[in-house]
């Protein structure tokens, strides 16, 4: 997958308000030491969270359920009142001036919250009017956005008659009609079919070229890796790490992998694992298929070797070691770690 370097994306905007007196560029989103404590809760939902999203950047906010992502987005979109710390959108403090902040953000929620008393196009028109966009302008914008979101023939449709994907696209159109500086996308492709998912991904990429900042929260690691310029991994209300997906994957101990399928020929799989772990460069060996399966039921064992060097250079030694021990190899291939591995490494395997 082609990946851009982080510095490439700061394009677009060149307005005066981008610069603070010190010459520092105003971030699209700046969160510092953010704390949210819900009454009746024993711990902080957000617990000293800090991060910064540059203008025009697509930022992925990842984390297990209950990590504090939704609360953070809620605070940034002025729906949740922060307990301590600061959160700003384009330099506007969301706690001090929520009304001004609201004109700078847009939210595409996970659940459909379109206005069912209005048809598809009216949803866009009224939303635009709340944001003070003049009549002729909002009509033109609505037409353009409906077309762009593939909804041109749905303008008179009732909300209840739209499919999940269509409702999602309409919510994106609605979010964009008041030209927000920052767009918050909550789980943008949950429940969408692959076509709709790709369509949404393409539209998000379009936004990048238009200089709209996007903050997306997702569990879908593939999606986060594909769309985000940088991702932040949140757990227990704290930011664990922030970097480009490539850098995060590279930073993972044993980021390269070798997948092997072997017939142990009498060795138990622990012994095989032990043999392979001894090869220099191999960090650890896992058996994704489960190591405790009885031999006769699973004559072939799948192994994944996590290595801390170029995985290709270890193919020879691995094959030789297995051969020396009379273990039949039926498949040996190179793999690379994914963002999911990073995620699991950082947040653990426990169910939430």
């Amino acid at each position: 997958m082609a990946r851009r370097v982080a510095g490439e994306h700061h394009r677009g905007h060149n307005r005066d308000d981008e610069f603070l007196p010190g010459g520092r560029v105003t971030a699209a989103v700046e969160v510092a030491d953010l704390v949210k404590h819900y009454p009746k809760s024993t711990h902080n939902a957000v617990d000293g969270l800090s991060f910064r999203v540059e203008r025009g950047e697509i930022f992925g906010l990842l984390g297990p359920n209950g990590a504090g992502k939704t609360t953070t987005v809620g605070i940034l979109t002025t729906r949740i009142v922060l307990t301590a710390g600061t959160a700003t959108i384009g330099g506007v403090d969301v706690a001090r001036d929520p009304v001004a902040a609201r004109s700078k953000v847009a939210v595409v929620p996970q659940r459909v919250n379109l206005d069912r008393s209005l048809n598809a196009r009216q949803n866009l028109l009224f939303h635009a009017s709340y944001h003070g966009i003049g009549r002729s302008e909002r009509r033109a914008l609505a037409t353009r956005l409906m077309e762009r979101m593939g909804l041109a023939d749905k303008s008179k449709a009732r909300i209840d008659d739209l499919s999940g994907g269509q409702a999602q696209r309409l919510m994106i159109a609605r979010a964009l009609i008041h030209r927000p500086e920052v767009l918050f996308l909550d789980e943008p492709s949950t429940g969408l079919d692959p076509q709709a998912r790709l369509f949404v991904h393409d539209r998000v990429n379009d936004l990048r070229s238009e200089g709209v900042t996007v903050v997306l929260t997702t569990h879908d690691m593939e999606e986060a890796e594909k769309l985000s310029d940088r991702v932040g991994v949140v757990d227990h209300g704290r930011m664990l790490t922030v970097d480009t997906p490539t850098a995060l994957i590279r930073s993972l101990p044993g980021s390269g992998t070798i997948d092997a399928r072997v017939r142990p020929n009498g060795f138990d799989s622990e012994k095989v694992t032990g043999l392979l772990s001894d090869i220099p460069g191999v960090q650890r060996v896992e058996t994704p298929g489960g190591s405790d399966a009885p031999e006769e039921a699973a004559p072939e064992t799948e192994l994944r070797l996590y290595v801390d060097c170029e995985p290709g250079s270890l193919l020879g030694p691995v094959a030789a070691k297995l051969h020396d021990n009379d273990i039949t190899v039926s498949d040996l291939s190179l793999g690379s770690a994914s963002l999911e591995d990073v995620f699991i490494e950082l947040t653990g395997r426990d169910l939430r």
């Binding site: 729906r79 004109s103 003070g132």
Partner: protein, 261 residues
């Protein structure tokens, strides 16, 4: 005026415009919702029972101002509270308004104001219907301005009570809202009887005094039918203004609690 205030005012009108637009589209169902019940009450108690000889002549005269009052207060209350309960639970439609560039308090005020407008509209409709149904109405027209004032205040109080109830009642309790809130309000609001004549039923008179609707009914009846025993107009005015302030504040407080975490 700052730019933010200006955009908030614009957003306020746009949000109100949305509600008016939607009402316009749903006019038939809105009319059915606001007219069937009071018209039926007026017909049975004012017309049928009278013709059968079970009510005294003149009872219909007492009933009509009460029905107008009932509509102003109750329609405003229902039209503020029901949509709100739904909005805050399953439809979540209100989120779009909560993310519009205006203070959340203004959204609450808009909801009240719009409910009041619907109540006022429903009350106004009762005038021609009542005249048509009862034939002759012996009103003292010099009291009309005060009666209209009571009607307007009644709608506003209905809106504020509706906001309070709508923001306080959890969605799973919506069905008991009818039984424990609406029904008692309908029958303790002096809209079917003059409150001042309840001295034989003191406990009920005291109960009725807690219902804001009593002051709308009494104010309107006293102004239009000065010969029927009634509460002093200044008491009605003061009570309605007081209820507006108390329930308005309470409603906004509950609304903010629901809208913000």
């Amino acid at each position: 005026m700052s730019g933010t205030t200006q955009s908030s005012i614009r957003a306020f009108w746009a949000v109100l415009g949305r509600d008016v637009f939607v009402t316009g589209r749903e006019m038939p169902s809105f009319l059915a919702q606001v007219l069937v019940q009071p018209v039926a009450l007026l017909f049975i108690f004012g017309k049928v029972l009278g013709q059968l000889g079970y009510t005294q002549p003149g009872y219909a005269q007492i009933l009509l101002p009460g029905m107008i009052a009932l509509n102003s207060f109750l329609v405003a209350l229902q039209n503020t509270s029901f949509p709100l309960v739904l909005d805050f639970s399953f439809s979540r439609e209100i989120e779009d308004r909560l993310l519009a560039p205006l203070p959340i308090t203004w959204v609450a005020v808009e909801k009240m104001l719009f409910g009041a407008l619907r109540g006022l509209f429903a009350a106004l409709l009762m005038f021609p219907i009542g005249l048509l149904m009862l034939g002759n109405v012996a009103w003292d027209l010099s009291g009309l301005p005060f009666a209209v004032l009571c009607m307007v205040l009644g709608s506003l109080v209905g809106g504020t009570v509706g906001l309070t109830v709508g923001a306080a009642v959890p969605p799973r309790r919506i069905n008991i809202m009818f039984a424990v809130i609406l029904a008692p309000l309908i029958f303790t609001g002096a809209s079917q009887f003059p409150w001042a004549q309840l001295d034989q039923l003191r406990w009920f008179q005291i109960v009725c005094a807690f219902n804001p609707l009593t002051y709308v009914s009494e104010g309107m009846r006293g102004a239009l039918l000065p010969d029927v025993p009634h509460m002093a107009p200044w008491v009605c005015l003061l009570a309605l203004l007081g209820a507006c302030v108390i329930f308005g504040a309470l409603g906004i407080k509950f609304f903010l609690r629901r809208a913000l975490d």
